[in-house]
Symmetry: C2
Subunit: 228 residues, 2 copies
């Protein structure tokens, strides 16, 4: 008996390193799912190359080619539904989704943001964190609602902001954690342990993981809920 795999659609606008992490975790079985389509709103971005190399169908839905946001989003929705996408993952997707789109796919859209939301929503996040002098930042996976980076939080990872950090070093430290927690959230969703109900996150975690301080490449982070 084969477990049915979750159909994942990933929306991108840029390099797609989170896309790569999701593809890798699908390939090694950590996520019981498959990326069935990668949609970019821009031509020529690295994320599309990554998808093609992974043998994943790609589509460009160029927002400049549509009369307005509604038409653009209807095109997006059509592509997603044609590919029977069950979960939409925003991975560096730089368009704000309307109330209409979010309602249509309610509880089925995840986003990753490189800060400890509600701190530093929006753009230029790491630069703003460094300028604010905060001692910690991190990453947040959340369900998407029709605000900007406001939906309910699934999982967060904390990293220290070090005295010598600039935007690039801090971004790299956070990005390593983004890859881990985004894959974890998608794994939970694919395992049907994660859903959004009435704007709240319901998550079945497994207990017993007391020490959730962990990291890669010497960069420690504190993740909650613990990876499982």
């Amino acid at each position: 008996m084969t477990e049915s795999k979750l159909n994942i659609g990933v929306l991108v606008s840029g390099s797609g390193s989170n896309l790569q992490a999701i593809m890798d975790r699908c390939a090694d079985g950590t996520i019981p799912g498959q990326v069935v389509v990668v949609i970019s709103n821009k031509h020529g971005v690295l994320a599309l190359d990554r998808a093609r190399k992974g043998g994943i169908p790609t589509m460009v839905v160029d927002h400049d080619r549509y009369a307005g946001r509604e038409a653009f989003e209807m095109a997006l929705a059509d592509v997603l539904e044609q590919h029977a996408v069950e979960l939409i993952c925003l991975a560096g997707f730089m368009r704000i989704l309307s109330h209409w789109f979010v309602r249509r796919f309610s509880g089925r859209v995840l986003n990753i943001h490189p800060a400890l939301l509600p701190a530093f929503p929006g753009l230029n996040v790491q630069k703003r964190a460094i300028e604010a002098g905060v001692r910690f930042s991190g990453a947040t996976v959340h369900f998407v609602d029709d605000g900007v980076d406001t939906g309910p939080v699934v999982i967060q990872a904390v990293v220290a902001v070090l005295p010598d950090d600039d935007s690039q070093t801090l971004s790299a430290r956070i990005l390593a954690q983004e890859h881990r927690i985004y894959s974890q959230a998608i794994r939970w969703y694919a395992q049907k342990r994660l859903r959004m109900v009435n704007g709240k996150v319901l998550l079945e975690t497994r207990d017993g993981s007391e020490d959730n301080l962990s990291g890669e490449g010497g960069d420690k982070a504190w993740i909650y809920p613990p990876l499982s």
Copy 2:
């Protein structure tokens, strides 16, 4: 040769548990300083009892007895200067300080806030954190400027927000860390390792403290910069 001790004035409005922690750390020598006056803007608060039990002069400057904020703050400033206060620590002090006051004591006023600023400034902090569904919260010590909880950050502690938390349990977990990091910041200041220059924090930390995950009473927290 005796090291000269920093004269600390503490402003309170309530129970004064942070005041108690500061008094205790002065008494055991962790902070090379002494609380020379405790000022409350309200009569009958527990913080005043704590101060009296510790043999520390107390003063009530009741904001209701003054015509306006300016007069109130001039009275505050007079008391602080009469006691030769070098560092002002806000510890649950529920009045917002004006530009005038902050300028007069620029770089000499610290505050503790029960959240990871810039997330959740203002009031009802833990309740708002729980309602927002964040996975981490914490505490922040910062220099005071004339915004509400906006001054530059000295030290932060992170705690996990647990699934069963309510405002009280989360407040207690954060409060244990407030006592630790506030004392640490005051210690640094008293040791002349901490100051504010052009709105930025300059802090001489001691290196080599790699693992800064620590806690009391089973509640782990991640503190940065590490205690030293």
